[in-house]
């Protein structure tokens, strides 16, 4: 191809070229906050293993404004993850044929959202 002197455009900043790419990066970025939350939970478990005093310190952190603020950001990330996860789930699902019709994508997406709501409610009820 060098004989034709073709021009290869650089990929730098590719995500700024189309808002669809920024949405993708936002989706991928949820993983950072999801990981952060897992670390918070591990800290909690470690504190729990360390006895009542260390666990109370973790609970005290949870009550702090810093923690509440952090959780709001993490909550946004977690919810966005849930929404986008089930939105793309149909792409990885082999077609399920029932009789003559195959299961539409919307059923998979809706099913996922429904499951998320049910599981969330169950957790909230059990935890309360």
């Amino acid at each position: 191809m060098s004989a034709r002197n073709t021009y290869v455009r650089p990929m730098r900043g590719w995500y700024r070229r189309n808002p669809r790419f920024m949405a993708y990066l936002l989706r991928e970025g949820t993983s950072v906050f999801v990981a952060l939350y897992a670390l918070l939970l591990v800290w909690g478990l470690t504190a729990l293993a360390g006895g009542a005093a260390s666990y109370e310190r973790w609970l005290a952190f949870l009550a702090s404004p810093v923690s509440v603020l952090l959780h709001l950001v993490i909550l946004a990330a977690a919810v966005y993850h849930t929404i986008t996860w089930f939105q793309v789930a149909p792409k990885a699902t082999p077609p399920l044929v029932l009789g003559t019709k195959s299961l539409p994508d919307s059923a998979i997406i809706g099913g996922g959202y429904a499951a998320a709501v049910v599981v969330s409610l169950v957790i909230l009820v059990i935890a309360w």
Binding site: A38, G44, L75, W85
Partner: protein, 119 residues
């Protein structure tokens, strides 16, 4: 013949972790982040006694391990691949070790903490 990739291993963990995180995290974040600090939960809901018995039980321990460990593997996979999106191409082998290594350490630590609680 092109080399077969080992991605299926990490992708399976990523997928499992993604489903678990999608279903379970919003409620958990609501609990630890808002419901409990704002006093909306019953007394001792997150207290030492209750949490010790939950985390120390076989079912509770397995559930917590599953949620936390799979979340680590999910995030590690996504973060690793996002590096590529941001133009990190060189030294990808090192980054792979760092990301999945961190998930592995997190998994072991979680298991260790839960065993310590159970004992």
């Amino acid at each position: 013949m092109s080399k077969r990739s080992h991605e299926p291993i990490f992708w399976s963990l990523f997928g499992a972790g993604g489903v678990v995180a999608a279903l379970v995290l919003p409620a958990l974040v609501l609990i630890t982040g808002l419901a409990w600090p704002l006093g909306l939960m019953s007394d001792g809901a997150l207290g030492y006694e209750r949490m010790s018995s939950v985390a120390g039980s076989l079912l509770g321990g397995l559930v917590l391990f599953g949620v936390i460990a799979l979340t680590f593997w999910h995030a590690a996979h996504r973060i690793f691949h996002s590096l590529h999106d941001f133009g990190v191409h060189r030294g990808l082998g090192v980054w792979k070790m760092v990301c999945y290594g961190a998930a592995f350490v997190g998994t072991l630590w979680t298991a260790g903490a839960l065993v310590a609680i159970a004992i």
